[in-house]
Subunit: 138 residues, 3 copies
């Protein structure tokens, strides 16, 4: 059993930029040499989320539109305190959650054919992002 802690580095556009990080995670897994275990994928920061979806352009638009509707940009207490206008970004990130645990077996992530790991930057500006990719297993 071993632990291997790696990072992905992304430059995002913010504003609901949704990136498919599946191959980045799979590459880190391959480099670790581990065959069976779990990978924890975790966004560093409080305005980004990690989940899975079928990564195709229509659904990418739908996810952004969904959160625009459920948690619109607007007046939040957070913005009154800080004036950075990203209260909605924080709320979307907290609701969706910052981390994801995906099992792997035989050196492969166990995902559906149409299931990709996505990183969503909900912040209101371009960001350089760090994503933890930690493999644990044997």
């Amino acid at each position: 059993m071993a632990v291997v802690t790696e990072y992905l580095h992304l430059s995002t556009g913010g504003n609901g930029d949704i990136e498919d990080i599946t191959s980045g995670v799979q590459d880190k897994l391959a480099a670790s040499g581990l065959r069976d275990g779990v990978v924890t994928v975790s966004a560093v920061g409080s305005t980004a989320a990690v989940t899975t979806c079928e990564y195709e352009p229509g659904l990418v638009k739908d996810i952004k539109a969904l959160l625009d509707r459920l948690i619109p940009r607007g007046e939040y207490h957070h913005d009154q305190a800080w004036g950075d206008g990203n209260g909605h970004s924080h709320l979307r990130a907290s609701l969706m959650g910052p981390s994801l645990s995906i099992p792997f077996s035989g050196g492969q992530l166990i995902l559906g054919t149409w299931q990709q790991i996505i990183f969503i930057d909900w912040d209101t500006r371009s960001r350089k992002r760090q994503i933890v990719v930690q493999m644990m297993g044997e």
Copy 2:
């Protein structure tokens, strides 16, 4: 320390079919012989979710009604591309998340008395589903 990767196989009705998989997960844990560690429960596919709830008929109806209200069946970009009419299924799954990590101790899942592990099939048709149940521990 060891890793044991198992699967549950379910036939669901789709359309918000909510299944209590707690005893299925507990059985896999018992068979693994592991006493202390974490189990990762992960839906294979992008139209299903895993979380916990008090599994009783009223709340099962409430969860389905909640998602029917927050993310109604309707016109999504995903549907225009693929014509399979399950854009809302994907969105519900991505929002709720596909996987869950539950610690265990003394060979028992650490859950509340009224807290069960549920698998929700948000797709629009009956499906045969695979759920990863991966135990890691000692």
Copy 3:
């Protein structure tokens, strides 16, 4: 590799009481002596949630207001069955999810500067709560 299972004990006010448990989790991690691995933080019970946010008073109000809007207190099937009036509490907990996996490295949780681990008690009354903090690593 080792597993260390610990608990935090909280007295909450319920009704969307949001507690910053980061230092509590970090203290358990320090006491474990583990340097690299993952901590699973898991709410015991079906009316509480765990996620991360920037813990500041404005955002704490915003999170409560968001869930009050998306899943208002009201008439749910669960309440009709049990009469305890906390259907909305269950729904909020199931949507947000009960557990969170955070990697650690060099004995430190890998979180952003403005990213704290929060426990939210969505129940309708004061509760004594147990939170599992399980470290796995080396």
